[in-house]
């Protein structure tokens, strides 16, 4: 047999294998770019089966930071985005990548830190005051530093406190450059303070000495938005299936399902669609 024949035989085999590796019965599905806070807190595991059973449409969630999720949608790799950084979302719309943003629900952020309380925060609700004390005490603080919605919220609060944490970089301020879970793992290992959403915190197992030190501040509430990626930008976007999912999440049934999700006795997400 000649070399070319063998080469072609192998190429055919490779193509066949790739073809055979595709799921045979291609179900109807949409891809949702979302955040680790919704995925890792277990919300989607609770919410999506209800919708899938009702609609017959599979919802495939790729969980990233908000920044990455929006980038992914910009490339046309998602039909729907489900994220929590209002500023970035509005920019997304201004750039034409979506036509409309719908508010779905809120959750809240908490500040966690070591029981020993190195910065002597002494509990309380005032997140700004807490930040100031941490910076003053140069107590270790683990930040995500990954352009996620949580990171953006953390940065807005630093700004409100009039502190540039970058000056503490390398000493007390540590950017992990990773998602919420790994950042909490880091904080737990070095007994640092960390800014996290409550959902991820409640489902986080490796807490070590960390406890919630600040919660309940109005400024800690966090709005989630959902958007259909603009089909005018990417022709293959599944407009009907994507919009149907958004409509359901905003409708009473979706909102009730979100409210029903609890870890222990704690409700994590508070639906507020209008």
């Amino acid at each position: 047999m000649s070399g070319y024949k063998i080469l072609f035989k192998n190429i055919y085999l490779v193509l066949f294998l790739l073809w055979a590796s595709q799921p045979q019965a291609q179900n109807k599905f949409i891809i949702v770019a979302s955040t680790t806070s919704t995925e890792q807190s277990g919300l989607f595991k609770h919410l999506l089966p209800v919708y899938e059973k009702k609609s017959g449409v599979q919802v495939r969630v790729v969980a990233l930071g908000t920044g990455q999720a929006l980038d992914m949608a910009r490339r046309g790799d998602a039909d729907v985005v489900f994220v929590h950084d209002k500023e970035a979302e509005e920019k997304f719309i201004a750039d034409g990548f979506s036509v409309r943003r719908f508010e779905v629900m809120v959750n809240d952020f908490v500040l966690v830190g070591p029981k020993a309380d190195a910065a002597k925060l002494g509990g309380g609700q005032d997140i700004i005051a807490a930040y100031k004390k941490i910076a003053e005490a140069k107590a270790p603080f683990a930040s995500r530093g990954d352009k996620s919605g949580t990171h953006a919220a953390e940065m807005r609060l630093w700004k409100a406190a009039g502190i540039d944490p970058q000056t503490g970089k390398g000493t007390w301020y540590r950017e992990t450059g990773s998602s919420m879970g790994p950042t909490l793992n880091t904080a737990s290992a070095m007994n640092a303070y960390a800014f996290t959403d409550r959902g991820t915190w409640l489902s986080f197992r490796n807490r070590g000495d960390l406890v919630i030190v600040v919660e309940g501040d109005q400024r800690l509430f966090n709005q989630y938005g959902v958007m259909l990626v603009n089909p005018a930008k990417h022709a293959h976007i599944k407009r009907e299936l994507g919009q149907a999912f958004i409509d359901w999440v905003l409708a009473p049934e979706g909102q009730k399902t979100i409210a029903a999700y609890k870890i222990g006795n704690d409700q994590l997400f508070f639906p507020n669609a209008r």
Partner: protein, 234 residues
């Protein structure tokens, strides 16, 4: 120490109580890696054999490059495949991103240089023994390559298994191109990464042990086959 014993208990519990979801993850892992390694082998074995036998200018440079590519960072491969398969990329219209096929592609790209470089070495060693005889029988480069691939099959099996191990243990690339979608592209390594970030270290480590057990199992099985065949064929 308690963490590790907890992980061991978790691993035993996972294997013993193998639920449908875990089984699906394990099966997908094995399927993706097996197909990826098969594709890589189809490309890499002939490539390695030709590089071992053919003599042409630039061959040494090619061998050096191939050896270097064995250390391809998975994340880079993942990103490359991501950009290729993304809707905005050149192969976007096929909609392969976030599918098992994308993960197969990424693993195949990662593993091909490994199999090619190692098989090149194996075949070149065999060629020293066979060269005069095969040339005397008038075997051309392609015929000689085919002959050596078959004759060195036991050693090459080990090479392909090394590729399988690398593919199955890889996380960076499949995380990026697969998206770790529950029930669709979630494999063992991405599950381990996810459980680690949820702080469930015993579960993550337990899953890791299951993964290692699978890789060891595949290798043991292959070794038994190899030893039996080797005894028969010398």
């Amino acid at each position: 120490m308690s963490d590790i014993s907890a992980a061991l208990a978790e691993a035993l519990r996972l294997i013993g109580g193998m639920d449908a979801q875990l089984a699906q993850i394990v099966l997908l892992s094995v399927r993706v890696s097996l197909v990826a390694v098969t594709i890589a082998a189809l490309v890499a074995l002939p490539l390695g054999a030709c590089l071992a036998i053919a003599r042409f200018p630039g061959r040494q440079a090619l061998v050096a490059i191939l050896n270097a590519l064995m250390g391809l960072p998975p994340v880079v491969v993942g990103l490359l495949i991501y950009l290729l398969l993304s809707r905005a990329g050149p192969l976007g219209e096929f909609g392969l991103l976030f599918t098992p096929t994308a993960m197969i592609l990424a693993q195949a790209v990662l593993v091909t240089p490994i199999i090619a470089a190692l098989s090149r070495q194996v075949i070149e060693d065999a060629w020293i023994e066979y060269e005069e005889q095969l040339r005397s029988l008038n075997a051309g480069t392609v015929a000689a390559a085919r002959t050596l691939l078959w004759d060195a099959r036991f050693a090459l099996m080990t090479v392909v298994l090394a590729g399988f191990g690398r593919a199955a243990a890889e996380v960076g690339a499949v995380m990026i191109v697969g998206g770790n979608i529950d029930g669709v592209t979630r494999v063992m390594t991405t599950t381990i990464a996810l459980e680690t970030s949820k702080g469930d270290l015993p579960l993550a480590l337990g899953l890791g042990m299951v993964l290692v057990a699978i890789i060891i199992g595949v290798n043991l099985l292959a070794n038994v086959v190899k030893l039996t065949a080797q005894k028969r064929h010398g």
